[in-house]
Symmetry: C2
Subunit: 333 residues, 2 copies
DNA sequence: TTGTATGCGTTATCAA
DNA sequence: TTGATAACGCATACAA
């Protein structure tokens, strides 16, 4: 491992003061052009890189931000991460990635770590902690962007990016109702997911509007994975064998539901129609191809990071972004 | 944003010295149990978190590591990231995530950023830079774990984790040859991918062993994405319409190849058999289900992080891990 | 067991 | 245009 050279190494070698070197390196005024060039040459030759720690200690700027996601192996969040990282790269920001594994305690620990690292901002996706707790956490940081989570009250340092999940659910249910499917189940994802709760609202609203009863046993929570969807669908079908439509929390659970239906000898969409959400890339590859609510997650990541950087660089704005999901009609409904 | 309290804040409040507080906080000997408890209570009450910058400046330990991947939105790397993060979390390490977007220049910039941040180690996946350049970069860091990349020479601070891609290619080709398919194309992925080059070796070796000629025009490079696979397969089929088997760089390109074949009216596996690599979760969901070479990427991530931490904590060992891919026979070949 | 002095590498402030 | 000095918050080394 290389030894790091310091400002004072360069200063000694050139017989000037540390401050002059510092000014030259940072392209600040107060150094003659000739000396500046000379200093920069020597710095480059010595492979000088300013000590992040020392600079951070005095400026309080870390050049880092934190990205908190439930599960980076879920393509929806991986694509968000991709968008965030791309924009961060352009601005020279580094990215701390934290997985919460859907675990509220672990999420709380994550905020501690990020705070200790003095990140300049955080992007929080699908937080699974209580509202009051989340608020407290957000206020610890200079700025925050909150994706897919309602804030009880506007916070001065937080921007929200929300997918209109309520509307999404209604769009999905309209499709089912047009097909005269009235036994509509809902795989609701994790109980503490706000997206799930919003979709439940839309689901209930659509049922009510159509004059259909709301049946508790037609709704089932589960982890947001293929396996979760399989189990949830099995439970639902056992409780209500007449189910002829399933709206799923996300595409992974939708795929799980399809697998369960097919395993139970039910044709999709013949016997049971299925609609997912997110439109991750696998949706067009499964059989039958998944009808789903499209959301461009990489785009969400880019918006989130750009907004965060804007706030960091020019100060707080509390814009709110609403992303409207778009129904992609494929084969499963 | 909260003001941060410091050791000296706590010290003043309790009328003790900073050092006593420091010792109490870090659970170091030299403080009476009673005082320690008292200090820790006050620290907790004040929400004290030690300044990362200050601590780093004196200890030279950042508590962070860097993960460099070509593309986090590729499930193979996302799952590696998941494994790395999980193990890092258990040990209190934070993770810098860097995407290189398959771009060698961007990769070089990434190493600069990570070095500046004084990461204690790096995990480098599928590096796309030249061997001599890679060596230079690795030696800048305290420790490195290199996934899927050959090192020309063993480096004192680097551990390699390699999937036996050469063998993988040979396993795949054996399947094709058993089916008397002799017009075997190879979608080779990015030209600078070592995995791709190793698979090419295996591909050539198997052809030679079977007494078949090697045909340059049956091999095509492409980006490691579904779209890349589609384009490459189209090119191959145009040049050599008699192709009846395709071995693909990874599952994404394999899916792309299947789509192209089907689009061209060729049945899979009837007319063209396809084998992929990695066994990402989508493989069992596509139609036909993909025959592929299974590798547990999350496991690779866990091994990589654990090895890195071992090296950081107890010092260098230069173990080398070889991961043998396992053929998962599904429908596409 | 507790405390004091010193330095990590940088930038801010003020002086020359 | 340059330089000297202090500070950032902590831990190491040594003293009491």
């Amino acid at each position: 491992m290389n030894k790091r050279s310091t400002l004072s190494d360069i200063a000694k070698r050139l017989g000037v003061s540390m401050m002059t070197v510092s000014r030259a390196i940072n392209n600040k005024p107060g150094v003659s052009e000739e000396l500046r060039r000379q200093i920069q040459d020597v710095a480059a030759e010595m492979g000088f890189q300013p000590s992040h720690a020392a600079r951070m200690l005095v400026t309080r700027l870390s050049g880092t931000i934190g990205l908190v996601v439930p599960d980076i192996s879920n393509p929806f969040f991986a694509q968000i991460a991709r968008g965030v990282e791309d924009v961060g790269y352009e601005s020279g920001y580094c990215l701390f990635l934290v997985n919460t594994a859907e675990n509220p305690d672990r999420e709380a620990v994550a905020y501690d770590s990020l705070w200790k690292k003095e990140v300049e901002g955080v992007i929080i996706c699908s937080s699974r902690i209580r509202s009051d707790e989340l608020k407290k956490q957000i206020l610890r940081f200079p700025y925050a962007v909150v994706v897919n989570r309602d804030l009880d009250e506007p916070l001065p340092n937080a921007v929200a990016i929300n997918v209109n999940d309520t509307r999404g659910a209604q769009i999905a249910l309209r499709i089912f109702l047009e097909q005269n499917r009235t036994q509509i189940a809902f795989i609701a994802g994790p109980a503490n997911s706000i997206s799930g709760q919003r979709r439940l609202q839309g689901y209930r609203a659509s049922l009510k509007e159509a004059g259909l009863p709301y049946d508790n046993l037609m709704v089932e929570n589960c982890p947001p994975t293929i396996e979760g969807g399989q189990v949830a669908a099995a439970t639902l079908l056992e409780r209500r064998p007449a189910i002829n439509a399933i709206f799923a929390f996300n595409d992974l659970t939708a795929v799980g539901a399809i697998l369960t239906c097919q395993g139970a000898g039910k044709a999709v969409p013949g016997d049971v129609a299925v609609i997912g959400a997110d439109d991750i890339y696998l949706t067009s590859l499964v059989h039958p191809q998944l009808t789903t609510l499209h959301v461009n997650s990489e785009h969400i990541g880019r918006i989130a990071m750009r907004t965060l950087l804007d706030n960091i660089q020019v100060g707080a704005s509390s814009a709110t972004f609403n992303i409207e999901p778009e129904l992609i009609r494929r084969e499963s409904a």
